[in-house]
């Protein structure tokens, strides 16, 4: 399998390759190789659109996500608003300042980071953010060890995110810790940079719905600055199965009928790995990656020629860990 990312995963789209390149996860040469690999797949999507259709690439990627109907609708609405404000500003009409910072509420693996990344690209294509890159951080990246350290760390993180999206995962954890904790300092620092650098970056706070609601309630200074709330529901079993098939198809694998049945049944079951992680697309990704490795182990032991079909197919035995 081609490598190139710390996690050992391979990128699924050209946009993802370019992001990894920009983020320093892959070298230029490796990025070019990955772009070539993706284009040589049968049925590969057309290359990124020209400047005339600026957002088609990211919008198409958004549409290609399984489910998430309401999220998609909200994103389109936000983009329409941003687009029109930009055009009004271009014609010297009064434009609403875009204080479009958002709260993404959902369990892990429900697509929050994925959508945040696409939003950055959409905003960039609309001209609302110069770079549109995503900087994903969590509490430990913001909170320091001594007085003053936190403000310094937070400013540094914001500096990296300028022109793009700052995505704070499990943001409610900032309020953890009580008295001698510096989490509060991070919140204050964030409120301050949101004032100072108003439309220079997009801040997205993400986390479990209940925790995020409590967190926002306890911090009125933050609450008043976040008008947009997007809810990411847990995926249904049939959606997870569709996500699994999509992830496999992007890597040129597919499930044999018996494997598909194992998967569908496991996703419906009320116990085991799947149940504990119900609705979690990341778990699906990890398990499919494991199944791909198991298939490889199975196939190298096989004597005799291997067909293209054999190389592409995952059978029920490859999904053993799933049952």
């Amino acid at each position: 399998m081609a490598s190139g990312h710390p996690g050992g995963a391979t990128p699924d789209t050209s946009a993802e390759v370019l992001r990894w390149l920009a983020d320093g996860h892959v070298s230029t040469v490796e990025a070019v190789r990955q772009l070539r690999r993706l284009e040589r797949r049968p049925g590969a999507p057309a290359p990124a659109p020209g400047p005339d259709l600026p957002t088609a690439g990211a919008l198409a990627a958004l549409d290609a996500l399984v489910g998430l109907r309401e999220v998609k609708r909200q994103v389109r609405e936000i983009c329409a608003f941003v687009d029109i404000q930009q055009r009004r500003a271009a014609m010297q009409l009064a434009a609403e300042p875009h204080t479009l910072h958002m709260v993404f509420r959902g369990a892990p693996g429900t697509g929050k980071t994925t959508v945040a990344r696409l939003l950055g690209q959409l905003f960039r294509d609309l001209g609302a953010l110069p770079k549109g890159h995503l900087v994903e951080v969590e509490r430990a990246d913001l909170v320091g060890e001594y007085i003053g350290h936190t403000a310094q760390k937070t400013r540094e993180v914001v500096r990296r995110a300028l022109g793009g999206v700052l995505f704070i995962d499990e943001a409610y954890a900032l309020a953890r810790g009580g008295g001698k904790d510096f989490g509060k300092e991070a919140i204050d620092a964030l409120v301050k940079v949101m004032e100072d650098k108003k439309s220079e970056f997009l801040l997205i706070l993400a986390g479990y719905p209940r925790e995020m609601a409590a967190f926002m309630d306890a911090n009125p200074g933050l609450r008043s600055r976040f008008a947009i709330h997007v809810d990411f529901p847990e995926y249904r079993p049939d959606e997870l199965a569709a996500i699994a098939r999509l992830m496999l198809a992007e890597r040129q694998y597919r499930l044999a009928p018996d494997a598909d049945e194992v998967l569908a049944k496991a996703l419906d079951r009320r116990t085991g790995v799947w149940h504990e992680n119900a609705g979690n697309a990341r778990m699906v990704r990890n398990l499919m990656e494991r199944a791909i490795r198991r298939q490889a182990v199975r196939l190298v032991q096989h004597t005799g020629p291997l067909s293209r079909e054999d190389l592409m197919t995952l059978v029920a035995a490859d999904l053993d860990e799933v049952r």
Binding site: L21, A22, D23, S27, P51, G127, K131
Partner: protein, 198 residues
């Protein structure tokens, strides 16, 4: 408008090629269009100004991807095409995030090219590097692709050209000097052959 994307390593002469080739095509005021459709294009530059802004012997003078429209006169009629200058590709992982973003912008532009002009400095030893190889392997079969062997006016360029032809077999190579403009007629012919008449 069709896009001819000029790509290659750092300081191989991409920017000088863009400016001087535009001049050769009769362009006087060069109005460069930025990548971002909302960014204002700067006022047109004179040729001298464009060279001062874009051409430099140092590292990455400019990280922007930007294009200037030129009209090629050729067999059958004129062809209008925008020549896109890109930041020079560095093979590895760049330390500076701004450079990494620029690499991504450059590759995104190459992916959209109607025509790729891959510039190489043949006066340098081992002029066909790892990144050159990878990019050609990626795009040469998919789009009209011309390798521009630049800096032919400099000593050692003839041997470099031979080396390049051995390293990149099967790719069309047009030797030029962006400085003296030698070879520009052949370059214009090669480009015109893969562009539709307006």
């Amino acid at each position: 408008m069709r896009a001819a994307v000029v790509v290659g390593g750092v300081n191989v002469g991409k920017s000088l090629l863009v400016v001087n080739f535009a001049a050769y095509c009769g362009q006087r005021g060069l109005r460069f269009q930025p990548l971002d459709r909302y960014a204002a294009s700067p006022r047109p530059w004179s040729l001298g100004e464009a060279r001062r802004q874009l051409v430099s012997a140092g590292p990455h003078a400019i990280l922007a991807v930007q294009g200037v429209a030129v009209t090629l006169v050729g067999k059958g009629g004129p062809r209008t095409v925008r020549l896109w200058d890109t930041p020079g590709l560095v093979a590895g992982v760049a330390g500076d995030p701004a450079v990494r973003h620029a690499m991504a912008d450059a590759l995104a532009k190459v992916a959209q090219a109607d025509l790729v002009l891959h510039v190489v400095d043949v006066a340098r030893p081992n002029c066909w590097g790892e990144a050159d190889h990878a990019v050609a392997e990626w795009r040469a079969a998919a789009t009209p692709y011309t390798v521009v062997a630049n800096q032919m006016d400099r000593p050692g360029a003839r041997e470099g050209l031979k080396h390049l032809r051995r390293q990149a077999p099967g790719l069309p190579v047009v030797p030029v000097s962006a400085l003296t403009q030698q070879g520009f007629a052949s370059l214009r012919r090669a480009m015109a052959a893969s562009l539709p008449v307006d």
